[in-house]
């Protein structure tokens, strides 16, 4: 059998030092047969990857002895991952969370799609694998924070995260990707999540790295019966951010929530692809993504809900609201429903517009300056997403970031 090797992928991989072990070499071999998707691929229709595929990234760097992460922390339990390498010396966590850090060389439980080039590259080039287990019946109030840092220029960090929320557990994980000093770095993130029976898991993601950063996250979530899973994504910066959230609802009586607040400016491109696969009956899913785009920012929202043939009594809702604040901002929205069962209530809505002139005028008449009136309206618009985060420390971090990035107060 002859195999065609993609030149671009070959070039991309040649810059990386693939760990010398059979598992990762095999993954690299597989990656070579995959090409970077183009806008001709439906799944990547609105996102151009040439900056990543042609980019010269490196994975070698010098570790910094001291990392200034104090102002990013929202919890006193945290794991620090610097340029894809776990810094156990700085990390700090109690026994509540069982954390296993291993090198990425032996076959893992990590389930990735072998035809997806980014997760295959991740598999080939990752250094560390972080596995978090929340033990059965454990209810943990303190969130665990994963602090990703990319502080070298043109660094690629292939990060792997596995989360197992065991039966009847309840916990919150906060993933932050902020304050990256490295220019044009690329975080290629793969995460798999298992939410077991009766478990409650919330993941809050905050993406506000260097505006020249690239970030591609592939997240595979599986839910067992009676479980609740919630993922909140807040994105403020990134030259190219793509979040692929794929949720398979395998058990009955599950609840799934996805929320997103994207407020960005300049020439940034934020792309959220979500996919909820309702395989069984009696489930509920809700999705709410809000975009506020300024400058030359472009936004992409693609929400897909599939209700399989025998999955009856499903309520699935999708909402996507977009506000364009400047002449040059643009948004592409594609909320999809694929329904093969009949006893369902599914709906989606998508709106695109601008701030209500009358509302601004009203606020101005009450003595609020125009700029502030606008901020107030935007805050109200995305407020319903931020409210979902339900953790004060995280919310105040987000408020602070808003202040820093957009000079906005809530």
């Amino acid at each position: 059998m002859t195999t065609v090797i993609s030149e671009k992928t070959d070039h991309f991989l040649s810059q990386l030092s693939i760990p010398e072990n059979s598992f990762q070499l095999a993954a690299a071999e597989r990656a070579l047969q995959l090409d970077f998707p183009t806008t001709r691929d439906e799944y990547w229709k609105y996102t151009r990857l040439s900056k990543i595929s042609k980019g010269a990234f490196t994975d070698s760097f010098e570790q910094k002895e001291k990392l200034d992460i104090e102002d990013q922390l929202v919890s006193n339990e945290f794991i620090v991952i610097e340029n894809g390498i776990v810094r156990e010396d700085i990390s700090q966590y109690q026994k509540d969370y069982k954390i296993e850090i291993s090198d990425a060389s032996s076959p893992k439980t990590l389930k990735v799609n072998s035809s997806d080039i980014f997760s295959t590259i991740n598999r080939a080039a990752a250094i560390h694998n972080v596995k978090i287990t929340i033990g059965a019946n454990k209810v943990i109030d303190t969130p665990l924070q994963i602090v990703y840092l990319n502080h070298s220029d043109r660094i690629i960090s292939n990060t792997q995260l596995e989360i197992n929320a065991e039966k009847s557990s309840k916990s919150t994980i906060v993933i932050t990707n902020i304050g990256n000093e490295g220019k044009e770095s690329f975080n290629n993130h793969v995460m798999t999540v298992d939410v077991a029976e009766n478990a409650h898991l919330t993941i809050n993601k905050i993406q506000a790295g260097n505006p020249s950063n690239y970030n591609i996250s592939t997240e595979e979530i599986e839910q067992d019966q009676n479980s609740t899973f919630k993922i909140n994504t807040v994105t403020l910066k990134g030259a190219l951010v793509r979040n692929n959230i794929n949720i398979a609802v395998n058990g009955q009586n599950c609840e799934t929530h996805m929320n997103g607040a994207i407020v960005t400016k300049e020439k940034q491109h934020i792309d959220n692809h979500t996919f909820v696969d309702h395989k069984v009956s009696n489930c509920f899913s809700n999705e709410n993504y809000k975009y506020v785009l300024e400058g030359k920012a472009t936004g992409v929202f693609n929400g897909r809900v599939v209700v399989r043939q025998d999955a009856q009594v499903i309520n699935a809702y999708q909402n996507n609201g977009n506000i364009l604040l400047s002449d040059h901002a643009s948004i592409n929205s594609k909320p999809e429903l694929e329904i093969y069962a009949d006893d369902v209530k599914c709906s989606h809505g998508s709106t695109t517009g601008q701030l209500d002139e009358n509302a601004i005028f009203y606020l101005q008449a009450r003595g609020i300056a125009k700029e502030n009136a606008k901020k107030l309206l935007v805050a109200a618009f995305i407020g319903e997403v931020i409210e979902e985060i339900e953790h004060e420390g995280t919310i105040s971090l987000i408020h602070r970031l808003f202040k820093e990035v957009h000079n906005w107060d809530f």
Binding site: Q309, A329, I331, N332, E338, C346, G349, S350
Partner: protein, 480 residues
């Protein structure tokens, strides 16, 4: 009948056969199956076409040869063998006048309920009746020509008004637009041409009934409607087809051009043979329909789709001129093993352009019904406005209803709304109606009727009646 339940409705839907399934026995002239430059030349020669049109066809054939069949639509079907299709078939006899028309053909029209005699007298609708590919009778021509309106078969228009055809052909749907548009451009057999002069309001609804009749014949209709400045026309297109076991291909192209201040209303009732209840046979309907709106003009598409085994159809509007308006109203019903992937594209280029999309899908049996739509707001389309609503109604637990909207906005003064819902008929709604003394059957009829009313209301009076009939056949007694 008392106690008519949803179960019984489903039972009836299963056994509902195609009512208009019959074949007219008329000798046809056919050219051998297959597609090549020679065949294209032959079609062109048979129709005595000018050199530029032959060139147009040959160019389209060359483009088509380079293309591959698209696969993105949410439908599964066995691809047609393009070398096994006969690309031209015309009834052999030509008619001098209406009296000369074959009585059998007249009878066919009677069965369809669109007899020319009747329509001439009663409805005032001029009908350009297309049996397979050649127009056999055109009525009301004199009356229309008094106003300067040209309404004729496409081949007649090529002979009589070549300058108009040449000016507008392919300007909205270019040859290289898509696989089936290219195929159509190469081999189109006949179709309708309509031109409304400046400032003329067409006094009657122009209507064409298409009908596939010859076994193994693909039908490649070409329709071109040009509404000159300040004119108005309402155009009706309706289709019925006889029962067949093999799949037949229908790849039409419809081009509408609304010049400044003009308005075109294009209504379709589509009832090609959908295949039997086991999904055997049926028509493949791969149609490219598009309209170009110039300044202050309006194009409105209304369609009721009940037929075809596989439908792939997106009547679209390019809102090029400032203040232009595009509308799309659609009811798509699928039953048994039918598959429909239909919707619209609204391309906003001009300032203050508006578009409205209302799509109602009803899926029954094991059918798959998809809405696929694009709303695109270009950078310079200031103050564009769109409202989209696509609802799906599910009748059984084996059918599917899907929504794939694409919303692309590059202008910050645009206001876009999109909403979609998918559900079955609410049991509480039926219960409420029953409480008010309606039988379950009537309740279902009432709800379905109310559900599609918004679209049916947009159809011209004469057509709404036929649309009602087709819905009733497709969904049996549930539609009152």
């Amino acid at each position: 009948m008392s106690g008519y339940t949803e179960e019984e409705l489903k039972e009836e839907l299963k056994d509902q056969e195609y009512k208009f399934g019959f074949t007219t026995d008329i000798e046809s002239e056919k050219i051998p199956a297959g597609l090549s430059e020679e065949v294209v030349r032959m079609i062109s020669a048979k129709k005595n076409e000018p050199e530029w049109l032959l060139e147009y066809r040959l160019n389209a054939l060359r483009v088509w040869m380079e293309m591959t069949e698209p696969e993105w639509a949410h439908v599964k079907y066995e691809k047609p063998d393009f070398q096994n299709i006969s690309y031209f078939s015309a009834p052999k006899k030509q008619y001098e006048s209406w009296e000369d028309v074959d009585p059998e053909m007249k009878a066919t029209m009677d069965k369809l309920g669109i007899s020319l005699d009747e329509q001439k007298k009663l409805t005032g609708v001029a009908v350009d009746f297309v049996m397979d590919s050649v127009s056999v009778a055109t009525s009301f021509k004199e009356k229309l020509s008094e106003l300067g309106i040209i309404f004729s078969s496409f081949s007649e228009a090529v002979q009589n008004h070549p300058e108009l055809v040449r000016k507008y052909l392919g300007t909205v749907v270019p040859t290289q637009d898509n696989f089936y548009a290219a195929l159509n451009s190469a081999v189109f057999s006949d179709g309708s041409f309509c031109y409304i002069p400046k400032g003329v309001k067409c006094p009657m609804e122009l209507s064409t009934y298409f009908r596939i009749n010859e076994s193994g014949t693909g039908q490649f209709e070409r329709t071109l409607v040009v509404a000159d400045e300040g004119s108005y026309v309402s155009y009706l297109e309706g289709c019925t087809a006889p029962m067949r076991d093999e799949n037949q291909l229908h790849a039409a192209v419809v081009e509408l051009i609304a010049l400044d201040n003009a308005e075109i209303k294009y209504s379709t009732v589509q009832n090609w043979f959908p295949g039997d209840k086991d999904g055997k046979g049926g028509i493949f309907n791969f149609v490219t329909k598009r309209g170009m709106c110039h300044t202050n003009s309006k194009i409105s598409w209304t369609q009721v789709e009940t037929g075809s085994a596989v439908t792939w159809k997106y009547p679209s509007c390019i809102l090029k001129g400032d203040n232009s308006i595009g509308e799309f109203y659609s009811v798509a019903v699928t039953n048994n093993y039918q598959q429909a992937d239909t919707g619209t594209k609204m391309i906003h280029l001009g300032k203050n352009t508006k578009s409205t999309v209302i799509s109602k899908g009803i899926s029954a049996g094991q059918s798959q019904n998809s809405y696929r739509g694009l709303i695109q707001i270009a950078k310079k389309a200031e103050n564009a406005r769109n409202f989209t609503q696509c609802d799906s109604l599910l009748m059984t637990d084996r059918c599917g209803a899907h929504t794939f909207p694409y919303i692309e906005c590059a202008n910050n003064s645009a206001k876009l709304e999109h909403e979609a819902t998918t559900s079955k008929i609410g049991e509480d709604q039926i219960f409420y109606c029953q409480q008010r003394g309606l039988s379950e059957e009537k309740a279902i009829g009432l709800i379905v009727n109310g559900y599609v009313k918004e679209v049916l209301n947009k159809l011209p009076m004469e057509f709404a009646v036929e649309a009602q009939k087709l819905l009733a056949i497709s969904l049996e007694n549930s539609v009152g």
